[in-house]
């Protein structure tokens, strides 16, 4: 009973501390939060830039071994972070094949670790989204004489809600990841410490109030990003947002 009460005390004081830290603009917290956003945002952006085109090509093209490729990509969405961390650690360490790049214990190594986990997610969701489009729609595009690029743009427009979902899920996965980035980033204060790493460290040190405070900041961050992307997603789903050059909207031309 006392333990339960003290647990609640910790949570309540954690919330109070979080408010205090946020309102006071603590420079360390700001730096950690900023680095979290930069690392996870960059990894998600790169993951989308690589995963969405690869997923689109995989979905639209017929080739030998396609189902095996899809299976592998789907499997990679569940990559254990510590395994990613271990492999990247070995690859990036001084004696590893990419040791000469001197990336170990840098934010770039953390981005790379998150990219390895985000890319299969964006690719997998893109494959599902593009594959789910009515085949008649693609044939309609072909029948209208669309070039391969036009056809791809039309298909991407049809799958746009799914593509945005892939970014949302990818970012959620990246920002909440801890195992791999700690292994390749080192959790160095002021250099590679992000919110998740800081929470682990503070918990290990018994600084529960600060850990909860950072957890609340992390949750709020994920929440805000999700809200923004959800608004975007509903906007995409609810309005004609097809601005690809192939579609010259007469309505827009008139108003121009």
């Amino acid at each position: 009973m006392r333990g339960a009460l003290s647990g609640w005390d910790v949570i309540i004081s954690g919330v109070a501390k979080a408010v205090q830290l946020i309102l006071s603009g603590d420079p360390t917290v700001l730096q950690i939060t900023f680095l979290s956003i930069v690392v996870s945002g960059t990894a998600t952006l790169l993951g989308a830039l690589i995963g969405i085109p690869l997923g689109t090509v995989t979905s639209l093209k017929q080739f030998k071994g396609k189902s095996a490729v899809v299976q592998v990509v789907n499997t990679l969405t569940g990559l254990p972070p510590v395994v990613v961390g271990l492999v990247l650690y070995l690859v990036l360490s001084n004696s590893g094949p990419l040791g000469f790049l001197r990336l170990l214990y840098t934010p770039q190594a953390m981005m790379l670790a998150q990219l390895v986990m985000v890319m299969p997610i964006t690719m997998s969701i893109t494959i599902s989204s593009v594959s789910a489009i009515d085949p008649d729609v693609r044939e309609a595009a072909m029948s209208l004489g669309a070039s391969p690029l036009d056809e791809t743009l039309i298909m991407l427009n049809e799958a746009r809600v799914g593509l945005l979902t892939s970014v949302v899920v990818g970012f959620g996965s990246a920002i909440s990841e801890v195992g791999a980035i700690m292994m390749v980033g080192g959790n160095l204060l002021g250099y590679t410490r992000v919110l998740t790493g800081a929470i682990v460290l503070l918990t290990n040190q018994g600084e529960f109030a600060e850990a909860i405070a950072l957890g609340i900041i992390l949750l709020s961050l994920a929440f805000v990003v999700n809200i923004l992307l959800t608004i975007l997603r509903s906007k995409f789903a609810g309005t004609s947002s097809y601005t690809a050059s192939i579609l010259v909207s007469p309505a827009e031309s008139r108003s121009a």
Binding site: V137, E139, M142, S143, L144, G145, N157, E158, S240, L247
Partner: protein, 242 residues
């Protein structure tokens, strides 16, 4: 010279032959109806004519050009025709944007696109729906947009796969009228697959009857319905065959 000529064309999916040794000529400016029971291969034949699928055997000649060619050439040929599918297959954009797609892919300038879109929206009685998202339309309205999209490009060949199957009489009437006008005013050659004998009689100068992937009879529409030569055609037009 016919606009489209299919020479001994067959199409199989795996071991299943869907179209068998079809020989078909479409003369310029004609309207040919393609009738036949479900599963007789009408849709596949339309897709073959639309160059959306390649024949397993035989060859398709479009305006004197053998279509056994590369993708780039095929695309050029496809730009001279338009297809209306049984389901509208509209893009998830506005009605107006749907109608303009074919004109954009053909490299028309904005002024021409604007003029053509305006003209076809008026003809198809779609001006009130121009800003509506295509996916919010009723089945009949969506099919009208699909026909408008096809007609906007003023194709030499118009291929229609049961275009009024999901339309009420008003929508069906607008679609039929637009097809007839396009044929009469622009000389558009039309191949229309239909289950509806009345529609075939209203639109087509000639009708071909397709049964189990083979064209078993082709005559002027009136003659085919009044005095079919083939037993299977007779059974179909008299309602004894589903």
């Amino acid at each position: 010279m016919p606009l489209v000529e299919m020479v001994n064309v067959s199409k199989s999916y795996g071991t299943r032959a869907v179209v068998k040794h079809v020989g078909l000529k479409l003369e310029e400016g004609m309207i040919l109806a393609l009738m036949g029971p479900n599963g007789s291969g009408k849709t596949t034949l339309i897709k073959l004519a639309a160059l959306l699928t390649r024949p397993s055997e035989g060859s398709i000649i479009f305006d004197g050009v053998n279509t056994e060619c590369g993708d780039g050439k095929l695309r050029q040929l496809r730009r001279r025709m338009s297809v209306v599918f049984q389901r509208p297959a509209l893009f998830d954009v506005s009605v107006e944007d749907n109608v303009s797609v074919g004109l954009s892919t053909r490299g028309n300038d904005e002024e021409r696109i604007r003029t053509k879109v305006e003209d076809v929206l008026t003809r198809m009685e779609l001006t009130d729906l121009r800003g509506r998202r295509a996916r919010t339309l009723s089945g009949g309205e969506a099919q009208r947009v699909s026909v408008a999209r096809a007609l906007a490009t003023e194709p030499e060949l118009l291929l229609l796969d049961e275009p009024t199957a999901s339309s009420d009489p008003r929508n069906a009437s607008i679609i039929e009228r637009s097809v007839v006008e396009s044929n009469a005013n622009k000389g558009t050659t039309v191949l229309i697959a239909t289950h509806n004998p009345h529609q075939a009689k209203r639109l087509a100068t000639e009708t071909a009857f397709l049964f189990e992937g083979e064209i078993v009879e082709r005559q002027s529409t009136g003659a085919l319905f009044e005095s079919p030569k083939d037993e299977r055609t007779a059974a179909y037009v008299s309602g004894r065959m589903a």
